[in-house]
Symmetry: C2
Subunit: 240 residues, 2 copies
């Protein structure tokens, strides 16, 4: 899953990664105008790789460009985030279904189990600080990534990797108590999911996964009338 970052022998990919990071962590705020020359100066490269990077991020829909009028950072409304997470939930559900239909090898099962055990251990400590949430997210991502791998559909994996919100726990913007509760419910989902997959219950796995993927968002919208999308994106970025 980290294949999109880091590995960068050429400048273009470096610029793409850095620009993506600048956007996701809010350094470049939503709606900010981006000029090729400006970015080139900022990142100390020529306009060529910048242009290529912008084209790439335009396809990811992180920046938007009008012909002859340059680019600006996409504005994410709360509805945009909801839509993206909705698609993500559907794709994750498909991955779970395929995994269940295909069945697990012993190795695959134990890998998923170990994720669940690590999460259980983490929750048992009762910690609810930022560090704990980060650890939780990284294990969680491993769990989800592995299910996608097991599903074995390359096109599916490709789309999931391009989705801006990898695993979007939104934990960081929730009050600590609420966040802990999300952790616990998530963990219960994980256990049920593995059970469904092991028993080859494709449809059950699919719907469990959908619910699971939408859990943090529904929690967050229960609590806030209006989510600040800048904060939310920073939160998601920190989670990865």
């Amino acid at each position: 899953m980290q294949s999109m970052e880091s590995r960068a022998s050429n400048n273009t990919e470096t610029v793409t990664s850095r620009l993506r990071a600048l956007i996701m962590d809010g350094t470049l705020p939503q709606g900010e105008k981006i000029t090729e020359t400006g970015l080139a100066a900022l990142l100390q490269v020529s306009r060529t790789p910048v242009r290529l990077a912008l084209a790439a991020l335009e396809q990811e829909d992180l920046v938007r460009g009008a012909p002859n009028r340059g680019f600006h950072v996409r504005r994410f409304t709360i509805d945009d985030m909801r839509e993206i997470l909705d698609v993500r939930a559907t794709l994750e559900g498909m991955a779970a279904r395929l995994a269940a239909e295909k069945g697990l090898t012993g190795d695959e099962e134990s890998l998923l189990r170990s994720c669940i055990e690590e999460l259980a251990a983490l929750i048992a400590t009762g910690q609810h600080d930022q560090a704990a949430f980060r650890t939780f997210s990284s294990i969680n991502i491993r769990f989800h990534t592995h299910i996608a791998r097991i599903a074995g559909n390359a096109e599916l994996i490709r789309l999931m990797e391009r989705n801006p919100f990898r695993s979007a726990p939104l934990l960081h913007i929730l009050p600590a108590e609420e966040a802990l509760q999300v952790l616990r419910e998530s963990q219960r989902d994980h256990i049920r999911l593995l059970e469904a997959i092991l028993q080859g219950q494709g449809t059950r796995a699919e719907f469990l996964m959908r619910e699971h993927a939408l859990l943090p968002l529904s929690k967050a919208t229960q609590l806030f009338d209006h989510i600040n999308t800048n904060t939310a994106m920073r939160s998601i970025q920190q989670a990865g």
Copy 2:
């Protein structure tokens, strides 16, 4: 849905469209090596727009490139096509579900109904030549596109537009009798789908749509041990 073609004020988009067409219609066969200079000479432009077009199509996964070693046309195995259609079916299913959950306005309903009536009229003529299949495909695409619009999820539409196989009836590679049967079964699916959507039966609509989207592929694989992916892609291209 045709937004990706035609509208091309600048060279880069023109080159992108033309290159995509060259690949989809088999002029550039699968696995063919593509050099920037070669394409630039062929299309009478400089390397710059070619480079941008290649980067775009790489993200669509129609061409693949190794660092410093250029690009080649992606090879589609039959399994690749299956995977892509599987994802497409899931996304189409999501669109149907959202449409059902949202409900139709009068205009939306009558637009879908008119598609169905046109298809019924076409089938009633009993024609089963290439021209009839093309007409069928174009109406069919309108039907599906409209459902996606009704669903109203921009991210979903974006992914569906990027899927290489828009509506993939594969009719052209089936024997005429089989193709006609596919038409009839499709039409039955359409009617049921509209019914489910009108009654707000989201899950039913979702699963009907999935089956519907996979129908042509399963028919084709019933008949052939091995589908020639070049022929199949040409067929899909003709359908669009």
